[in-house]
Symmetry: C2
Amino acid sequence: MREHLTTRSDADLFLRDFRSLSRIGETPGGGVDRQAATVADAQARAWFTTLLGQYGFTVEVDAIGNVFGLLEWNPGAPYVLVGSHLDSQPLAGKFDGAYGVAAALHAGRRLAVGRAAGHRPTYNLAVVDWFNEEGSRFAPSMMGSSVFTGKMKTADALATRDADGVTVAEALASIGHTGSGAGPVAAACAEIHIEQGRSLEESGTTIGLVHSCWAAEKFTVTVHGEQAHTGSTVIADRRDALLGASRLVVLLRELADRYPDGVLHTSVGQLTVLPNSPVVVPRQVDLTMDLRSADEEVLAEAKQLLEQGIKVIEDEVNVRIEADTSHAWGVRPYPTAGVGLARACADSLGVSSRPVHTLAGHDSINMNDVVPTVMLFVPSREGVSHNEGEFTEDADLCAGVDVLTEVVRRLCEGALDD
Amino acid sequence: MREHLTTRSDADLFLRDFRSLSRIGETPGGGVDRQAATVADAQARAWFTTLLGQYGFTVEVDAIGNVFGLLEWNPGAPYVLVGSHLDSQPLAGKFDGAYGVAAALHAGRRLAVGRAAGHRPTYNLAVVDWFNEEGSRFAPSMMGSSVFTGKMKTADALATRDADGVTVAEALASIGHTGSGAGPVAAACAEIHIEQGRSLEESGTTIGLVHSCWAAEKFTVTVHGEQAHTGSTVIADRRDALLGASRLVVLLRELADRYPDGVLHTSVGQLTVLPNSPVVVPRQVDLTMDLRSADEEVLAEAKQLLEQGIKVIEDEVNVRIEADTSHAWGVRPYPTAGVGLARACADSLGVSSRPVHTLAGHDSINMNDVVPTVMLFVPSREGVSHNEGEFTEDADLCAGVDVLTEVVRRLCEGALDD
């Protein structure tokens, strides 16, 4: 039973498919740009469905555009879901999400090829591309898995608009991926991803066994000022929305700096100025704030300090600031049994592993709330991510596929059943 | 000779034409949006050329798209140029620029109607719409008058691109306003504009006699950082371009706050984030900075402090900041004789006046460098400008046209000749 995991041809086949995926939406800077339901994302999804067909899977698209490749070994039984996401940030790397889908596809292919005739695992297998994990075009992130797990209503997700006013429903229709239904019934879940941090690289470890996620709280913020002439309007009369927004960006970093490095991460990634003309004091700024910590008390304290700071800024800059939580999740452990299972799989293959936590959000965080879930990492060079320079060595990519294949095989046999 | 200045029908005709102009590019917020060489600007220019034809002017468009309405009373003689600009900021008011063109059109019309048969003034008259005074779509501002006065090369102006990569030449061609030549030879210039400040309203004065302009220096700035994941990237590893830009916005206001109110005006009006996604630490921010003062020494000192501050930000935020001067002008007096002439005209009509300076830039600042120039203001309610809420009373608008008509009449007679 083990030969299918380590043959040269499996690795070559995986790398061939992953490289063809990496060329879709390629950027001059060596990365990819495949935001959700764009032409590039459609091409990546076509890459996925074509290979699913070639490798013997049945393709299904659910109502929010998640793509499933199904292998029904045990008619009527629930499914082990394994996958990640093909969409990317703008000007992003080739590995974030895409590696996890390619690895899942090949884990499934290898399990199908290697299955002994007549053997019927406890669970069926579904390889999945979760729709819009990144949230850069349509907020919030992790949209497909949020709908799948019942955390977001399908209708609300489909009605979400991008900056040009296009809805998710319209965008999915435009790429021919309007689906229906709620997808397969899940029994367990697995995801593999690049670490997007330095701990594996620095410790010389191949596989990260994710034991918990950081808590996160994201806000959409509008700063309301008053449009005026930059030359003629005296400073005392100004209600400069961009000054208010800038004070907020600085405040957020000051909050992170109150704690030792690695305790609280704060950012503003998106900021839009209205009307955005060189000689006009801005009337309005829309921005997003992102706060994360492994310690929910730190996050709560930071949020309280943020609220106090917002009042000070409103008062000193003479603007009005509206901040609403758009997306949040708590610190949650992945099941200890799943971490142990993954460690046993890595050990059995002679691949090094160590426990890690995830600072970033992943679809598996949503899935972990509803079924036993295993999350694996492979190293990221210098921890670089959401950047065209993302890089993971081929040997690590292939070892990851090997371990994932074994994890999924055992999950299909019911290894995490109570 | 005076009856044409004060008859009811002149005022009614002016207000009728000005109201029809105000409806072009009207916004739901009660303002206008007519950025240079857009469809709305094209409609405003058609409004202008149609009325020029009806009122007996000959229309000429020069190579940078300035529109001139010519009345040639004295064949071969130079021209008194009177006008302002029809383009606007995005989401702007109905008065900025547009009032000055409508007032110039009516001053010219009234002088043509009232001219005694056979009388030949020293100079001919040209009513002008200066192209792209606002600079919001194509930087820098005051483009048409900069080319007219030789401060900017025609080819450079025509090659300037907007945010979508469209050149000025392409945009002018798209609205059918590709012109040629350098326009009429100027002998003198006049412009009337709303004050965009409070001094006339607060002192209960109808006409501002502009005696000098503030100095201004404008910069285009790029902050270079490194794209990264907002969740997983530790703070120490970040090179956040938006944090650098925000520190710069805050620094600029701190510079203004070093001086008593009204001494130094600083602003960032335009700021664009790349890639601008909620979960990505920004790689690059482009922004414009605007510094103005009536005191060139204050401006020089502020610039020096700014340069020092930029070094601190580069060091503390771990970003690189490029700042280049894009447009600058010094403190310059308008000719005393012109201020005296304008005062005499106001007095002769029983209209109150007082000396003021202009904090904003105007096309007349360019013209003042090459020919004797008179600049007049009418009151702005609460000093509001570059805002849909701009407002000036009809009575003030009409009094402004009356005084401008008399100023232009005297300029055409050679009143400012040495």
